[in-house]
């Protein structure tokens, strides 16, 4: 490892059942305090894709990802990961970076790595080391003293150092400086290409991210407004950004 090339994840063989879509949502509704947050959401994400979940604030992106992560059941409809219902047993397939998630502030980064090893059965300590070098993470720094960019890098590292076949990132770039963004994007790609991982990334940072996606899901006011294959979109002379503007303006 020269620390310059983004490191690759080594997935355990057989972690993801072959031939099954990574995520399926069918007719998903979600009501929170009588407010309808998601309405009849249906889509499928095949394995080996990098999918962008795009939409303005309040569109329902985070709620949808929480359902995928199995943190809460939908009011109606079906959410499946690799053919199994989302929920605690399906957590073994999933590495989730929640929006505005917090890591424990009182430990150092190095101590966190040791804790993570005990928390996550699929933690890969060697990959964590490679990522720490590439992402230039200071192991002696106390978590509470990290800048937003450093914290985002540690959080991403925590997600990628696991061997889970599905990685779900909710706004990994918010408030993150340009260099950290570039490193995060490079790590995602290196990890993706290395194994047969599937990524779902919610962001409103389209320009920075659109070259990463195979597919985009456009969500607004709790509904799926468009599903696009990104290169097919470009073959029609359209950018992700122009499609986004068309859908949301």
């Amino acid at each position: 490892m020269d620390g310059k090339t983004a490191p690759t994840a080594q997935l355990q063989k057989g972690t993801a059942p072959a031939g099954r879509p990574a995520v399926v949502c069918r007719g998903v509704f979600m009501k929170i305090r009588n407010k309808e947050i998601l309405r009849d959401v249906s889509f499928r994400v095949d394995q080996g894709q990098i999918v962008g979940l795009l939409g303005p604030n309040g569109a329902g992106k985070s709620t949808l990802l929480r359902l995928v992560a199995g943190l809460t059941p939908p009011t109606a409809g079906v959410v499946e990961l690799f053919g199994e219902p989302a929920g605690v047993p399906a957590l073994r397939y999933l590495s989730f970076l929640p929006d505005r998630g917090k890591l424990p502030g009182w430990v150092t980064v190095g101590e966190w790595f040791r804790l993570a090893r005990d928390i996550y059965p699929d933690w890969d300590p060697d990959h964590a080391e490679e990522l720490a070098e590439f992402l230039k993470v200071r192991r002696t720094a106390r978590m509470s003293t990290l800048s937003r960019g450093e914290e985002a890098r540690v959080q991403l590292l925590t997600c990628l150092a696991r061997r889970a076949p599905l990685v779900v990132l909710d706004e990994p770039f918010t408030g993150v400086d340009m260099i950290s963004r570039e490193q995060i994007a490079s790590s995602v790609i290196a990890d993706f290409a290395g194994g047969s991982r599937t990524f779902i990334i919610a962001t409103h940072d389209i320009r920075e991210m659109e070259n990463l996606f195979n597919q985009v899901i456009l969500i607004g006011e709790g509904r799926i407004l468009a599903l696009e294959d990104v290169e097919a979109l470009r073959a029609r002379g359209r950018s992700v950004e122009s499609r986004y503007r068309e859908v949301f303006s």
């Binding site: 790609i189 070259n211 996606f213 470009r234």
Partner: protein, 129 residues
């Protein structure tokens, strides 16, 4: 060293409303025609290149497939991907690029009601004024 050359060639402002692989193919094709990428030069792996320029790996895969189809690059299992040493293939590609450029020029000429030769003569005339 060679890999760095390829990287530099692929760092350019991308047009987000055209298929990315096409834009990359055009860049590499031109670099081979110019000789910036020399016959036998080693190209980076899909993963390396995708991560370095931050695009989806399938984009790079398609770029390599297309260049391989045009016989401008060759892959050897376990060894990597290289610019072809087949001078004929490179010459054919340069000829195709020249034809395209002339076709574009002809379109411009025709839109002005001129032949290519008249267009060139006219441009020369103005220079001499």
């Amino acid at each position: 060293m060679d890999a760095d050359v390829a990287l530099e060639i692929l760092k350019f402002p991308i047009d987000p409303s055209r298929p990315l692989y096409e834009q990359f193919v055009e860049r590499i094709r031109a670099a081979i025609a110019r000789g910036d990428l020399e016959p036998g030069a080693r190209l980076p792996s899909v993963r390396e290149l995708a991560a370095a320029i931050r695009v989806n790996p399938t984009t790079i895969q398609r770029m390599y497939q297309e260049l391989e189809r045009e016989r401008l690059i060759v892959s050897y299992r376990g060894q990597g991907t290289f610019v072809t040493r087949d001078a004929k293939a490179i010459e054919a590609s340069r000829r195709a690029l020249a034809r395209e450029a002339v076709a574009r020029l002809r379109e411009t000429a025709e839109s002005l009601g001129l032949t290519v030769q008249q267009l060139i003569d006219l441009a020369r005339d103005e220079e001499e004024d």
